[in-house]
Amino acid sequence: MAVSASSKVMNNVETVRETLHEAMKNDDRTVILGEDVGDRGNVFLITKDFVKEFGPERVIDTPIAEASIVGIAVGMAMEGLRPIAEIQFADFIYPAFNQIVGEAAKTRYRSNGEYTCPLVIRTPYGGGVRGALSHSVSIEALFYHVPGLKIVAPAFPADVKGLLNAAIDDPDPVLFLEHKKTYRLIKGEVPGGHYTIPLGKADVKKAGTQLTVVSYGLYVHWALEAANQLETEGISVEVVDLRSIRPMDRGTILDSVRKTRKLLIVHEDNKFGGVGAEISAMVAEEALFDLDAPIRRHCAPDVPAMGYALPLEEEYMSSPAEMAEAMREMVRF
């Protein structure tokens, strides 16, 4: 990715907005649909004024009916449009489970390649924002088991733009997860012009020698904060940002683990059956004899939801301090 002269500093909301705006301008097959995406301009104001510019036929306010949002988008995608469906909060994606898993992910296979489903489903996810039970969940593990579905969860604005462009270009369905807490918290340099970042490519956000930390989403930022703290203590930690949860970039993970010989996975989602379980199994299968410590997963406890009360939310969420301690323990081992 060449950083062009027109690069500018944006937060994640601005980056999503600008990327979507470009997509709408560049390709009139692009359609945005979801709850409050029109007149309200999305609850985070991502599609503010889109309906004025592109009209209600391309920026469609839907009823509160997630199954319909995705179901309609699947049909649009199969018939040649480039729909970008929005689920207002990932917590409410469950009614659309059948449309995503049973229809979108299987379209290409079921039709023997005659139809594809070039659909992007964007949804804000994640906690740490006092969102309580219904505005805090991580949903990736529920979907990453499904072949035919790509899942992206970028952490940095520049990655958001490149990966969202790649998701829109992709001929198959992509679930695009945007961490709510990073929306306005995280700012970064975003190159101008159109560019894509390949789906399925992780990125080493900080190089190190003593421990590999794999994460995605908000926790990449916290892991970096912890790793930078440890750097002052003489401990060298490598932080790998998955960016794409599926396809998983096995090569980047394995290269890093083979170098550092230790692997810590941190994610906000529950530990049991989470993305970390797959990474852990993959590394155990491929690089057992490079490991100098048991693989460790630092993840959310197996409780049904994140509580509203601050102590409960903090108990559920990790923190840079907790991550730093887990890293120290791994390096000391």
């Binding site: 010989r261 057992l288 004899f289 490079d290 490991l291 100098d292 410590a293 048991p294 000391r332 081992f333």
Partner: protein, 416 residues
């Protein structure tokens, strides 16, 4: 608690065993690893040690009875050993451990640090084991800097940097020689050394070489190799073509397929024994030694037959699976030294044979043809060492020329 002892499996393919003799009586005390029964199978007879310490309660089958492996044969009342957990599962009597074929000792676990709560994790990690093996480091001898004194991968690397490990006696590997250390002479290496000296001393070696144009044989082989590999799973090299030519030349010069029977020969009579069979040994260099498995009755095999037989032997050699039979009965030896890039070599005869030929590297060369044109051809040197007690240069040179003629007549097409 009671431990049920089952019939052990004394060998990979053994499915049953016979209790030949009980070495103890019910009521006898028995120590762990103490033999308590003699078991026979169609492969071995073996005394079987007890997996536990305790008192024999009962034998479940009579002497002379044959039962399937895994069948309960005895019950031992186990004496609880302090600090040792007991196991309620039926325990297979521990069969004698096969002698390690591994060239070097596996890394031993790090020292136990009693009292530490994280005892479960104190063992050497997979990375430590691998690095220790690669660097010939005894993990038990290193001071660990990890949690609870654990030896870390970095500790092993540090140890290998500061003091190149001295391979313990008899545990060195020929494959990864360590400068400044003595590799004890053992096993195959000792036998090779003895046989080479024996042959070179006893048989006056003479040497000769011809250059053969194998362009057409090479073309033939190239044409067939993909189909052959698909059909048989073996790679088709020029070796079977060469062996076929050697076998035909040996047929024409039976004195080359002979051996010098020095007095006192087993028959009591000295002489030159002309072999009945044509069994071709193939010299195969492995990382740690040299083996010469034998293609039996090579004169009865087509090129394809030789290719399959030799492919099988080479495969077995690489997997260390050659049987004694595979290595016996050779009457003449072929060495594909060219596979390693050699251009000419003076091989040592395999003792008890009259000669050995080598295939050297195939090199493209400008050649003056019979009609005085210059052509680019695939040329290969063929070197012969012969036992001058058996044949003279007259026979040997004609044998070589005959071999050259046969090689050059092969291909560019034909039936394998």
């Amino acid at each position: 608690m009671a431990t049920t002892i089952t019939m052990p499996q004394l060998g990979e393919t053994v499915t049953e065993g016979t209790v030949e003799r009980w070495l103890k009586k019910p009521g006898d005390a028995i120590d762990k690893y103490e033999a308590f029964v003699e078991v026979s199978t169609d492969k071995v007879n073996s005394e079987v040690p007890s997996p536990v310490t305790g008192t024999i309660r009962e034998f479940l089958i009579a002497e002379g009875t044959t039962v399937a492996t895994g069948t309960p044969i005895a019950i031992i009342d186990e004496v609880a050993v302090a600090g040792k957990s007991t196991n309620a599962e039926p325990a297979a009597a521990s069969a004698p451990a096969p002698a390690s074929t591994n060239g070097h000792s596996a890394a031993t676990p790090a020292p136990v640090h009693a009292g530490a709560p994280e005892q479960a994790l104190r063992g050497a990690s997979p990375a430590v084991r691998r690095l220790a093996r690669e660097h010939h480091i005894d993990v038990g001898a290193i001071r660990g800097t990890g949690a609870n004194g654990r030896v870390t991968a970095e500790d092993v690397l540090a140890a290998s940097r500061t003091a190149p490990a001295r391979p313990a006696s008899g545990t060195s590997t020929y494959g990864e020689p360590v400068p400044g250390t003595l590799i004890p002479l053992a096993g195959a290496r000792r036998i090779i050394a003895e046989r080479m000296v024996e042959s070179k001393h006893a048989a006056p070696h003479a040497w000769s070489m011809v250059e053969a144009d194998v362009t057409n044989a090479w073309k033939w082989r190239s044409r067939e190799k993909d189909d052959f590999e698909r059909e048989t799973g073996y790679k088709l090299t020029l070796l079977p073509f060469f062996i076929r030519a050697v076998v035909e030349s040996l047929g024409a010069f039976p004195l080359m397929n002979a051996r010098f029977a020095a007095p006192p020969a087993s028959s009591g009579q000295a002489g030159i024994y002309v072999e009945k069979d044509v069994n071709i040994g193939i010299a195969i260099g492995l990382a740690t030694n040299l083996v010469v498995p034998v293609v039996k009755h090579a004169d009865k095999l087509s090129i394809k037959g030789i290719a399959i037989a030799s492919g099988e032997l080479i495969d077995k050699a690489r997997r260390n699976k050659l049987s004694a039979d595979d290595l016996q009965g050779g009457t003449f030896t072929v060495n594909n030294n060219g596979a390693n890039g050699s251009y000419a070599s003076a091989p040592i005869i395999n003792a008890g044979q009259a000669g050995i030929v080598t295939m050297e590297a195939i090199v493209k060369k400008p050649i003056v043809t019979e009609d005085d044109a210059i052509a680019i051809r695939h040329m290969m040197n063929v070197c012969l060492s012969l036992d001058h007690r058996v044949v003279d240069g007259y026979v040997a040179s004609r044998f070589l020329t005959d071999l050259k003629r046969r090689l050059e007549a092969m291909g560019p097409a034909g039936v394998l």
